[in-house]
């Protein structure tokens, strides 16, 4: 049994180590302290609300959030009225009227976040040819996850390192692969005024909006981890019982 356990641990170590080693060679953004990391991690609702404010006032000018519905904002602690108000700021295509003409209506809580551009061409033409990616899964869709997105938002350098030429219309970013990014520095100190009076430094805004995007990408994170702890504790207990039972059953073989 002990020999088996040691070999099994060694073997799993080999496999997981191989996978981790294989995956871990991308440019690293420094890791941050997130409220949602670790097995007991949770979202900080106040932070998510601030992040929502950053998204709405800054990011949403160019970036869509097409997989998230306004109704989902209830998870941030917004009440129905606030959600309806946020949704109603946008117009969406409605049902044809009685003459069959196209209409528009105010967005409802059941609608997904309305994108800033009607289509890819509109987005590109407004952004110097670059396409601002959708942010619904951004923290899952990049190596490094939230650390990477935070790194991008805080990685701008006004002066690129000596000898590095940044093409016209591009910006130097220490974390972005290739370092030339089409997105200008989106955040600035006191660029927005937080509703909860938190001091809006670039780092604070980046932290808040990345937390918000993490929630957008992984809305069930808290439920998942809570359930996980219960499931693992139950399985540990069950396995303990089964182990004891196994020994009892096997006692006459030895």
């Amino acid at each position: 049994m002990r020999k088996f356990a040691v070999s099994l641990v060694a073997l799993s170590g080999l496999i997981v180590g191989t996978i981790a080693y294989a995956a871990g060679d991308a440019a690293h953004a420094p890791s941050q302290n997130w409220s949602f990391s670790g097995i007991f991690g949770t979202y900080d609702k106040a932070q998510l609300k601030r992040g929502l404010q950053v998204y709405r006032e800054v990011c949403s000018a160019c970036h869509s959030l097409r997989l998230v519905a306004y109704r989902n904002l209830a998870a941030l602690g917004l009440d129905e009225k606030a959600i309806e108000a946020i949704a109603a700021e946008k117009e969406v295509p409605g049902e044809p009227n009685e003459e069959g003409e196209a209409t528009t209506r105010k967005a409802l809580p059941s609608d997904k976040f309305v994108p800033p551009f009607a289509n890819e061409q509109a987005a590109r033409s407004a952004n110097n040819g670059a396409l601002p990616p959708d942010l619904s899964l951004m923290t899952k869709a990049r190596v490094g996850g939230p650390d990477y997105v935070y790194g991008i938002l805080t990685g701008y350098k006004e002066e690129p390192p000596k000898g590095v030429k940044v093409p016209d219309g591009m910006y130097y970013n220490a974390i972005f692969p290739g370092h030339n990014i089409a997105m200008g520095p989106p955040l600035s100190d006191e660029g927005i005024e937080y509703a909860d009076k938190t001091k809006a430094t670039v780092a604070q805004q980046a932290k808040d909006v990345v937390s918000f995007l993490q929630w957008a990408a992984d809305p069930y994170l808290e439920d998942r981890k809570r359930m996980g702890i219960k499931v693992v504790l139950f399985l540990l207990f069950l396995s303990g019982l089964l182990f004891a039972y196994k020994r009892k059953v096997w006692s006459d073989v030895h």
């Binding site: 049994m1 088996f4 496999i15 191989t18 097995i39 998942r224 359930m227 089964l242 182990f243």
Partner: protein
Amino acid sequence: MANGGSGSKVVKWVDSRLPIFSFVDHALREYPTPKNLSYWWNFGSLAGVVLVVMIVTGIVLAMHYTPHTTMAFDSVERIMRDVNYGWLIRYIHMNGASMFFLVVYIHIFRGMYYGSYKNPRELLWWLGVIIYLLMMATAFMGYVLPWGQMSFWGATVITKLFSAIPWVGEAITQWLWGGFSVSNPTLNRFFSLHYLLPFAIVGVVVFHLWALHTTKSNNPLGIDPRGPQDTIPFHPYYTVKDYYGIGVFFIVWAAFVFFAPDFFGEPDNYIPANPISTPAHIVPEWYYLPFYAILRAVPDNFVGSWIGFGYIIVNAKLAGVIALALSIMILFVLPWLDTSKVRSGRFRPVFKWFFWIFLLDVAILGVCGAHAPDEQVFSWFENFDYLTLARITTAYYFIHFVIILPLVGKIEKPLPLPTSISEPVLKGGGSAGAAATAKPMEKA
């Protein structure tokens, strides 16, 4: 059940018309099993459990999934966000694929170490290799379904391998695609086949178990049971041991599902498929990496110049595809490549070392598969890239099967085998290997 008293009237009535109770009794209760199986023998039942969980979660996912290129990605996200506990079912299924391969790889290497493929278990081994092949096909097509960037580009790279086949390759590839590139018909048929193949696996598993129950289980000593004193009934001894194994295994699985659900995945697959934007690195899932390395390792015109394929122009791709196919097909002849009559590695002092070297070789191949061929392996050692490493380890992979195994079997002097499972050491053989087996059972 059949010979038990409970409910016996109904049971007897049924059993005399359809001996299903006798069958279950015979196969799952009485089945005489060597009493010395170690925990390495748990992984077969674990694989069966994963298969069932995968089918159940897969059927539920299929109820919510839309196999159309414009909707597949969003339908998976809908499962993750709007279907009740959809995230849980999807994460179980997604990580289940990795768990399945993890368990099956351990199961396969256990068979290799203890010589479970040898006479009389060659067909049992073959059926296992067939299951493994079906698993690879199923997992590949399943990975395409979320229609992310890695789904699309992985599918493109792998299906294009068929185009390396001379003359008909191009036609075969288009036939597989149902078009001129990986597109909606491809996604549709992959969904259909991804649903079908697991049931084919179930079918082969039945044959695998049938063969197992005919030849009976191998055991860590690799010697046949001499009589009833060497075996115990499967139930309750191994049923309870399997339950315990399942409990522990579920903890590992749950740890990934709940705390690191994307550990095995590629971030790129959370970007919707885009046929006009190729990811920087197209990397297959971890369980294919060693074979991916073998595929890329074969030099240009290797087969053409070394084996002489005559007038067929063998390009690097075809040579790589042949090497890839051979690397798995060679498992079918493994029972005859290993010339040693001794099954268990415990009594094979030379083979034992080569087994671990082979395992390491496969792991290194996996690392090579994850890296770009021109990437340097060491920062402190120049001109040694992953392609070179992959070539060395690929060569060793085949050398292990074709040269080492046949030779070691002939040259090696095995340790004395115990006379029976119950009384392994009568002559007091002094070797450590034999002494370890003196314990009748690896007491848990």
